[in-house]
Symmetry: C2
Subunit: 713 residues, 2 copies
Amino acid sequence: MTTSSLSPFFTPQGVAVIGASADPSKLGYRLAHNLVDCGYQGAIYFVNPKGGSLLGRQMVRTVAEIPDPVDLAVLLIPAPIVPQTLRECGERGIRAVIISSGGFKETGAEGAALEVECLGIARRYGMRLIGPNCVGVIDTHLPLDTSFLPPPGALAGDMTFVSHSGVICDVAIDWARSLGFGVSRLISLGNQADVTETDVLAPVAADPYTRVITLYLEGVGDGPRFVVEASRASRQKPIVAIKLGRFAGGQRAAASHTGAMVGQDHAFDAAFRRAGVMRANTSEELYDWSRALAWCPLPVGRQVGILTNAGGAGVIAADAVEAIGLHLTDLQDSTKAAMRSVLPAAASVRNPVDMLGSATPEQYAFCLQAMQADPGVDSILVIIPPPPVSTSEAIAEAIIPLIQSANGAYGSSAPGKFAKPVVLALLGGNLVSRAARLFRATHIPDYPFPESAVSALAVLARRAEYLAQPERVAEVLPGLNTLAARKAFEHSGENWISDALTAYGIPIPGVELARSADEASQIAARLGFPVVLKIASPDILHKSDVGGVLLNRTDVESVRLGYEQVVANARLARPQAKISGVHIQRMIPSGQEVILGMVRDAQFGPLVMFGSGGVEVEGLKDVTFELAPLNRVEAEAMLDRTWAGRKLRGFRNIPPADRAAVIDVLMRLAQLAVDFPHLAEIEINPLRVLREGQGAFAVDVRASYKVGIDHRA
Amino acid sequence: MTTSSLSPFFTPQGVAVIGASADPSKLGYRLAHNLVDCGYQGAIYFVNPKGGSLLGRQMVRTVAEIPDPVDLAVLLIPAPIVPQTLRECGERGIRAVIISSGGFKETGAEGAALEVECLGIARRYGMRLIGPNCVGVIDTHLPLDTSFLPPPGALAGDMTFVSHSGVICDVAIDWARSLGFGVSRLISLGNQADVTETDVLAPVAADPYTRVITLYLEGVGDGPRFVVEASRASRQKPIVAIKLGRFAGGQRAAASHTGAMVGQDHAFDAAFRRAGVMRANTSEELYDWSRALAWCPLPVGRQVGILTNAGGAGVIAADAVEAIGLHLTDLQDSTKAAMRSVLPAAASVRNPVDMLGSATPEQYAFCLQAMQADPGVDSILVIIPPPPVSTSEAIAEAIIPLIQSANGAYGSSAPGKFAKPVVLALLGGNLVSRAARLFRATHIPDYPFPESAVSALAVLARRAEYLAQPERVAEVLPGLNTLAARKAFEHSGENWISDALTAYGIPIPGVELARSADEASQIAARLGFPVVLKIASPDILHKSDVGGVLLNRTDVESVRLGYEQVVANARLARPQAKISGVHIQRMIPSGQEVILGMVRDAQFGPLVMFGSGGVEVEGLKDVTFELAPLNRVEAEAMLDRTWAGRKLRGFRNIPPADRAAVIDVLMRLAQLAVDFPHLAEIEINPLRVLREGQGAFAVDVRASYKVGIDHRA
């Protein structure tokens, strides 16, 4: 049970409805009705300056007159009188206020000013606000209903639905009810003058009745805080989110390839991934996944068994299994033999198991049991079209006990318990509706298409894998010279970005001037072999023509000799030339080339990119993004998500390259971005990656640095 | 009205049910019942050796005794007695037989033999067969129902559903009925001993009641014939298809990159595209698209208007519009002003138009009308969540007349007529179900999610664009030397594939031996400039070392001089060396590199590939496939579908390349594959593409040729 300042929103001792109305056409009437009808056990007060009575209760005329206990007020009054009423609530000692009224930020500047005023008042009195311009808060288990939504209200259930959109709350409740799926809490956040989506994560994750948290987001207010809070909450409860406006915000001015590639959406993808939030791509996935996560145990692996009486639907499901990255398990011979013993000869006992249209409820039950007993099966999809012979409800009755005993009785199995989830694809319409009701009554999720059922199994597997991972560990990188990097930025010399990268241990092929053979060999040893020697003379333009270039010197001795030879060659060819020494340059052999980049997202801060580089990065789109900083696991995962990264393992005649060096550079780049918020953008294109053990070098780097802006506020 | 040999299946004069049963637990009873109940107006005969009566009709004991008229028989009798019964049907003069019984190919070798026997008998008597192992044929408009499906039967409607899967017929009918959507014909093909999916396309396309053809396919029997028939049918009626087994068949042995990339699925993609068949990726799309295509007029363009009372759902729809390649139109100022005049200040009149949760039925109607009048809007999505204030059915009643008058009264507007389609997203469950019924009754399709509604609008736009295209024209390529190519294949010389490509006008950088300066200049003129000269001598290994190589000769005179110079250099350096002359080689400058390939699909024949080449083709997956032959439009479209092809137009510092030359090579390669069926596989990797007007050259080619196998059967 949460004891934070948000507690009165969810477990109030007494609720005052300010703007309650005896006029049934008013929302203030409906709100009062919902609060009484829901069965709320605390004190209820209706406040209306006209007095009178409502639902058998005497109305209170002023906030000051509300008796104890009262810690939550719901305001459904005209916007202009909200500030004064808030003050009265503050004086009365009310700690939490839901402002359901509209007429604030959403209407323009005047409304926005009013909203700021409200927040100021709330702060002064130590009150928390939800809204304005929201639908309210529902808890079906306390129970509590402060909404003005039309009946029937939410079914009591397992999902907390948190929404930036008001109307969608109504959709979610109605959708859930029609599928026998219930809500534990509904939180409509409205304009979020005070309480945001991030604030409510901890209290709803702690709610024992909530088995899944479903977020309908227009954005997030404070990106880094969202990531922290959601990461914590998602270890406790699965979080599914849809984020509106994938294409909003447009593209940045393309100063770099990285800048051209990144969209607001990549940042959200990265943030959700980091926080363990499962991002739904469509509203359908949001709803489908929520049901599976609330009702099913989690599988130990990705091996799926499919049981059907319609071969075609089984193949479609098998296609979906492959497409989504699950696996169609090979059933054990004993499983197949058992099934064969009860099925007709034309049936197929290879996964997907096709029992044929003649399948009886008994055959469904027998084969499901056999599949559940097969140790190679992690999760099961049962497909039930309107059966030509028996009824779908007879099949439902035959298999429900098997599913229930395997899943564990609903309510007793802790969410996150591993078992063998079973989901249903109920194909058709009216002819399967009675079976659907039976499954829903026992909390077994059914889907109208094989593909959506498979998608539900996939999200269960992802959730299981997420929980199986150890918690994220931050990684401390050795050899970061923060002082030197700071100096490079502050002095803004010609090589500031090279110097900064070098300070952070990112290899750049260096060039240094040697004035003697000894110095040449020292420099070469420092830069690393092989090196190139080039005569340094303002008077010699074509160095090769005078024997002034020596390639591929691989040891100290050959550099020492080479120094003498180059100088001698030059003296011989051009006796008049002024010779300042010999440039020693690390020679980077050819290798695989990748791009690394960093941009700063307004919402989430530094975002690191990795992928296929060159000029074609925008065309190939083989890039991936991740929030900085990175640990090794995250950096490796970035490589694995791109072809550029997979190719580093070697492919056909391309030899394996130094993946470890790339991972190291990625992590160092991310840390640099975290440590120096002035650094606006970096792009290493290419990073040339040599054979295993030979490193990776930033061959070309561009970067921009914001002077005079301090992001470290 | 079709007069083909298939006519009796759809418009029989008299139907005999052989295996009709008076036992209500038997399928033969249900089949008889369905035939009588559907209201079929022709003659009905029940055949059962035991005689007796059924449904008030005297049963006939033998096929021979069936009186006139009878042209269709439905067999629901044990498989072993089917052949003899078929013979009797033949003797009796019955022209069409549906074998509903199972026990044939699907049960193994014995059943397969029985099936072959049946086909032989049918051929002998000139009978056509549907099945065996099928559900039968339904025509709701004739009406005719030869299925044994459980009641309620199909609703009369607009979709012909053709299925390889039997059980799925039941699903489709039930699904359609639950959405108020009806079937014109249902054809369950079963094992397809005779009649296939391809055979029925022409008759159903000609059916005046059919407005959409929906195919549920396990595969196709004869690929090229399917493409021909489906191309014809799809000009008349929209065809939507789902193809089972995307991942079936596994990968070919990867002899080439092309071979490694191609799957059965690419061939189907290409075949469906060629035939104008819209391939559904999921069962949900199959059903969603069918409803839109049957009920909606087609839009003239891709500009979408969105009307909603829930901002969040509007943004989700807008995201889906962008993601699917439709466009969110900019509403005209007059449209916005009109809307603003009736909406509250906080409403947004920018597309997507958000009328706010308070939207009344009148506001819905007013704004919809304004959107319909806006010339920039091609199609419209109206989103209706359970409205907090009014009811969704009130909104439905307010807008249905507007949609109907714009779409044209249902039944009077020819399918394919251009207008402004309106589709609905009805969000929620129970609270919108009454509105859903109202829309369905007036044939306005509703979808449960904004995304699926947008997908429906997209399929309408695709269909409109398909019909707007001129019919496919085959293209005759100039300069194909078929004789020379044939000779190259027959002689199987060392350069057979180079010679064959050259014969078909595909440029290959040639190498020829010159024995004199004159000959050198003639060869160079023939090969094209610039050329490289290389001394030809078995005794000189390192040609450069002896001055035996001259690059970049750009005219006849410099080649002549070069010949003498190279020979003189070689003589001077190696007086003993035997010199056979000078190799003249077309020098191909660097340029963009692409891959072209061809493999032969077992189902559809030659399949041409284009895309990003190199060794990374399998990793980048930037390739596309198309059936051979290709016309210019198809070849261009292949380029446009890949990054490799788009890049040929130029990108950043990559200059534009000779796209026209690439298109020409693609078409020639496709034609070569068509003309020489022995050619099993070719891969040009890379084709080097020079600047505009400078051509494209097959730098590296590999191919395989099957000897002794004649595919031209």
